[in-house]
């Protein structure tokens, strides 16, 4: 257990440090994914299968990709000249140290470290997924519901923001014209500019009124 823990701890911390100091933002994101994976392996080493696997699924599989997307969409990936140190590195270091200190004090004073009969092998502490699920559904059901509500609200909010943007900017921005009121469909904005498209509007109009079934576009899908 010991050497494996040391190896994983070094891997995780080295990944985190490299993510902070990498000059290339994308490299930083990849190092961060490495740190996430190291953390997941630490969880697995502690016998927490569910937490470890969810850590990989969510952090390596989704959060790291989200970060990569954010980097690629907000700035050119060809500009690696990110500054290594921010304007006030000491403030950041101070806050980091404070958080670390608070956590360390809390852990050292908790019941976990003070009760002497500490099992020699952590093998018996395997928490099965069924146990995790049962405790989530009974003891912590209020927290679970609250988190579910929060995530649903965030999801709907994100969809609403995207919807609004589609309404506002969707109407043929390349023509330099504001889109007219409610004619634009959700999700896939149409260039509703009748003057520019006389032919296709006329052609399609007849077909659509004839029932929509016999069109060449094919039904079902």
């Amino acid at each position: 257990m010991r050497p494996i823990f040391l190896f994983l701890a070094i891997l995780t911390v080295a990944g985190a440090v490299a993510a902070l100091t990498a000059r290339q933002l994308v490299h930083g994101a990849l190092y961060l994914a490495g740190a996430f994976a190291g953390l997941a392996l630490l969880y697995l080493g502690l016998g927490a299968q569910f937490v470890g696997l969810v850590q990989i699924l969510v952090y390596v599989g989704a959060v790291a990709i989200l970060i990569v997307f954010a980097i690629l969409l907000t700035r050119s990936s060809e500009s690696p000249q990110a500054q290594r140190w921010g304007r006030a590195p000491w403030v950041g270091l101070g806050i980091g140290g404070l958080v670390f200190g608070a956590l360390a004090v809390a852990i050292l004073n908790s019941a976990v470290t003070q009760s002497p009969p500490w099992p020699a092998h952590s093998v018996t502490m395997d928490a099965t997924v069924a146990q995790v699920g049962r405790s989530l559904m009974t003891d912590h059901v209020v927290a679970l519901e609250a988190i579910g509500l929060l995530l649903t609200a965030a999801l709907i909010g994100g969809a609403l923001i995207a919807l609004d943007e589609g309404r506002r900017f969707g109407g043929a921005p390349e023509l330099g014209e504001n889109s007219p009121d409610g004619t634009v469909t959700r999700g896939m904005p149409e260039p509703s500019h009748p003057g520019a498209l006389p032919r296709s509007e006329g052609d399609r109009g007849g077909g659509a009124h004839a029932g929509g079934h016999g069109e060449a576009r094919g039904g079902g899908a």
Binding site: V26, H27, L30, A33, A37, Q49, F50, L53, V54, I56, L57, V60, G61, A62, A64, I65, V68, F69, L72, S77, D126, T128, V129, A130, T185, R186, G187, M188, E190, P191, A196, L197, R199, S200, E201, D203, R204, A208, R217, G219, G220, A221
Partner: protein, 397 residues
């Protein structure tokens, strides 16, 4: 006799382990047994599935050839079945070209990490009775976690190549894989709910029960059939196969994210793609088609591993058929399909599975759940067709 044939590989492994461990000093016995057991399981899985990968590539090329009215490979070996050996040797002796502007390390790591992630998924697949490398308590979660970790490697490959086509392909791949991962996992949730376990072994055991001569496969229930179809569609998109092969899109993007890969690194992408297909098919078999169990009680004398691999190859044939016959989707169709059809369908299916669990067994339960599934399918596909904005061609008319 049938029992021995069924368990022959398990017995063989036990015999090998005890024989090889016998040569070790007594104080190392336990470690030696654990190491040997793991090594034998891993090498057996790797050997079988890599061989299956080779055969699948030949089958796919011959099948596509038949669909496109031409001969497939027919020169190397009997009926061309040794073509994959020639392809492998060719890939090994080809020059490995790395673009000068490429990010060498990331470019080098991407195919390796991808292959590692894909091979890891095989650890939890039960290929027969008592034949699973690791019976993880959270096996299904492990499978999806390893699959999710491979998404980042696609981006690594595309970004590190410093090629705009590679980057386009990688962006498409990530957008597609992230989107289809949601319905993929959600379509597997009903199985976990009904079985009450995330272990692949438990899932198969729950289906290997016979009532009236029929196996209790999940695919024989309304929610199971809907789940199987959803899972297969989402899996096709997840492994970037036609009709969801936009990330490769050879008519638009050269070869997508592995444009700048050659030699054996390209072969590694190729292997990972096909092993991924085999793993997804095996997971579909495990979750919905009863894993290694026989469909009818009177066929249980056929060894379990034959059932598993027969079902696996049936699904592979289905994927080859789909690849040969369904045209590629457009990017917006792809996204709309995932978020506006598959996702609501998978969510409704979860509710249907819950109702199935609580309703009394009988014909009423069947009619009710099947009706809800069909109604949801009809409503969603109708609204999908109606809501589709009118296509306006600005330049192509």
């Amino acid at each position: 006799m049938a029992e021995t044939v069924d368990q022959i590989f398990v017995l063989l492994k036990g015999w090998l382990v005890s024989m090889l461990a016998g040569w070790c000093p007594p104080e190392w016995q336990e470690t030696a047994r654990a190491v040997l057991s793991a090594a034998i399981s891993v090498s057996a899985m790797l050997g079988v599935f890599l061989l299956l990968f080779g055969i699948t590539t030949v089958l796919e090329r011959k099948g596509l050839g038949r669909i496109q009215n031409r001969y497939g490979p027919n020169r190397v070996g009997p009926w061309g079945f040794l073509q994959f050996v020639a392809d492998g040797i060719k890939a090994l002796i080809k020059e490995d070209v790395v673009p000068r502007a490429a990010d060498r390390w990331v470019h080098f790591l991407a195919p390796i990490v991808l292959l590692v992630c894909v091979i890891a998924t095989f650890a939890v697949l039960p290929v027969g009775r008592n034949m699973v490398p690791v019976d993880l308590d959270a096996g299904i979660l492990f499978f999806f976690a390893a699959g999710a970790a491979s998404e980042l490697t696609v981006f690594m490959a595309g970004w590190a190549s410093r090629n705009k086509y590679s980057l386009f392909g990688a962006m498409r791949a990530i957008a597609q894989m992230i989107s289809y991962e949601v319905p993929l996992i959600l379509s597997a949730v009903p199985v976990v709910m009904i079985v009450g376990s995330l272990s692949t072994v438990r899932v198969v055991e729950a289906q290997a029960v016979y009532a009236g001569g029929w196996a209790q496969w999940h695919a024989f229930t309304p929610w199971g059939l809907a789940g199987l179809v959803l899972f297969l569609i989402a899996a096709t998109a997840e492994m970037n196969r036609s009709p969801f092969d936009l990330p490769e899109g050879e008519s638009e993007l050269v070869a997508g994210y592995f444009t700048e890969y050659s030699g054996f690194k390209f072969a590694m992408f190729f292997i990972a793609e096909y092993l991924g297909m085999l793993a997804m098919s095996a997971m579909a078999v495990t979750l919905f088609l009863g894993g290694w169990s026989a469909p009818f009680a009177f066929l249980t004398w056929v060894p379990s591993w034959i059932w598993f691999f027969a079902k696996l190859m049936m699904l592979v044939a289905l994927f080859i058929w789909v690849r040969g016959t369904v045209p590629r989707l457009r990017m917006d169709q792809l996204m709309n399909f995932a978020w506006k059809f598959l996702l609501p369908m998978a969510l409704i299916n979860i509710g249907v599975a819950g109702a199935w669990h609580y309703l009394a067994p009988g014909a009423g339960r069947w009619v009710l759940t099947a009706g809800v599934v069909l109604l949801a399918y009809h409503g969603l596909s109708r609204s999908f067709a109606l809501r589709r904005p009118k296509r306006v061609y600005r330049y192509a008319d």
